[in-house]
Amino acid sequence: MRFATTIAAALLAWLLAASAVAAGAGERDPAGQALDPLDSARWADMRREFFGDAPLSFDARVRVSAPHTAENPLDVPAHVDVSALAGVEEVLVFADFNPIPKVLVFRPGRARASLGFRLKLQQSSPVRAAARTADGHWHVGGTWVTTTGGGCTLPSTGSGSPEWQSRLNEVSARLFPRVDGGERVRLRIIHPMDTGLAPGIPVFHIDELALADAGGRALMHIAPFEPVAENPVFTVDLPPRADAGAIRVSGHDNNGNRIAAEVAR
């Protein structure tokens, strides 16, 4: 019985491997839809939920960097770079198998069309970015991340610590020079980012964060959702600057607590 199960499993694995090879980038299913290069059982749901009938393609210019194996499911690093695409208006990041798939949305203003951040994963999942260009087309890229899981249903460290809550929305940030003459802003905000999925702890997360230059021009707008990691850290790259003023950080969480800081040089 056990041997028969093993044979069946082997054949299934064989078939899956064969179909994965067949589903290379650019392949289409009989309905004319692009086949998911990550071969995720949730892709059809993701496509329906986030993109409906909008035009969409898998595009190697959408680069998602994340570790193959996430050591800490509560703090999985990811970096999305869509700067190879022209005219990106909005980027949606999602993880197919998270109980709350939507991780964040960012709109690059004058900043480079890239963002580093950390997320929580409940189980192994594709982590994807979909960039919408001015023509309304979605360009999708992603990578599988393997993890032991549990990241979304655990309480945050902050939810159990009044000391941390007294520093809520405190911003630590710093500017770093870039080799291209531009600058990098890294910022960390103290916030529990509770998903609402841990028993007895209501949803509580930053839902808006904006970076602007001293003249008030938008550099980057980020809308984080529940799966963004506790005490989130963001990496934003800026082109070479003309104006030497401070960078303004503003935003709020879903309870209306404000975030306001300046990053001086």
Binding site: T6, I7, A10, S65, A66, P67, T69, A70, E71, N72, D75, P77, A78, H79, G116, R118, T148, S172, A173, R174, F176, R184, R186, L187, R188, V233, T235
Partner: protein, 319 residues
């Protein structure tokens, strides 16, 4: 009538069988769940069981750790009990093949699962560790144990946490008719016990020292770890048993562990000071000196996950 079997048809089932056997050599080998433990004498009355320099897997059943035992005049002291109940039982059987003397003390050098999950095979009254190690096993042990089932599969069957019942402290101790010196150190975890047998000059360093295998850092404090390496290097040892990797007869594994920790610490601080994103830290190339160290890339990536958040926080809060 052709009575000869069609050779192609006869070959097909055999071929299928061969393909299946080739696909499942690990399961077949693991079926007996025999760790093939072979204690090796490294000094008079001092025995070591050397594990593989691999990660936990369903193939190795978690046997990636060094354990050992010291046979005194009246009893046996065990140093670390291995990754599973089966390992502990096979370790106890291996000891019985070497000596008829009873096991009088089982030391867990620290609270990581490959060092205490064999405890069930020994009498509860013999199980001993430093206070913080006892606390760590009691609080984090069950979580470690379920993770080990996930990593090692059926090798773990019936393994449960058997926490130490006795507390150890630094200093010389008469046990089993032999004098051992305990060193209460820290850095790999919050409490790391090293055992020095003065009679033979054998030092069991626990996971403060790795040899030809990259150190692991889930509970590490690098500065304290480096101070502990200084303390170990100052001992007049002749045989050095690291927590992982081959036994040595000089201080090279201490120097190697120190080189890794120095480099790791510097890479983390410099990366944070340069504003590297964590994904960029993970992509950093490793120095050539670590090319032959097992699991260097894997452990570096894990260490970035464990330690980079604190390094970047320090960098961002600096100003």
């Amino acid at each position: 009538m052709n009575v000869r079997a069609n050779p192609a048809r006869a070959a097909l089932p055999a071929l299928l069988l061969a393909v299946l056997l080739a696909a499942f050599p690990l399961a077949a080998r693991a079926a007996g769940f025999d760790y093939r433990l072979a204690p090796r004498a490294v000094a008079d009355g001092v025995w070591v069981l050397t594990g593989l320099t691999e990660d936990f897997s369903r193939d190795n059943g978690g046997n990636i750790v060094n354990t050992g035992f010291i046979v005194g005049d009246s009893g046996v002291v065990v140093i670390d009990s291995g990754p599973s109940r089966r390992y502990g039982e096979q370790l106890a059987a291996a000891i019985a093949r070497v000596t008829p003397l009873p096991v009088v003390l089982v030391i867990n050098t620290h609270h990581h699962p490959d060092h205490f999950l064999g405890n069930q095979a020994f009498a509860p009254a013999t199980l001993a560790a430093l206070p913080a190690t006892r606390h760590g096993i009691e609080t984090e042990g069950p979580m470690f144990n379920s993770n080990m089932y996930r990593l090692n599969g059926d090798w773990m069957r019936d393994t449960e946490v058997a926490a130490p019942t006795r507390t150890l402290a630094a200093g010389p101790v008469e046990v089993g008719g032999r004098t051992l010196e305990f060193l209460a150190l820290e850095g790999h975890t919050g409490a790391d016990l090293a055992v020095f047998d003065r009679r033979t000059g054998t030092l069991f360093a626990g996971d403060l020292v790795f040899n030809a295998r990259a150190p692991t850092t889930p509970h590490a404090d690098i500065a304290r770890w480096q101070a502990s390496l200084d303390a170990l290097a100052a001992l007049p040892f002749k045989v050095l048993v690291p927590g992982h990797g081959p036994v040595a007869h000089d201080g090279a594994p201490i120097a190697q562990t120190r080189t890794w920790l120095d480099w790791l610490d510097r890479a983390l601080r410099e990366g944070a000071a340069a504003g590297l994103d964590m994904t960029e830290m993970l992509a950093l190339p490793l120095p050539a000196v670590f090319e032959r160290m097992a699991l260097a890339k894997t452990e570096f990536e894990r260490s970035v996950s464990h330690l980079y958040p604190a390094a970047e926080r320090a960098s961002l809060e600096e100003q």
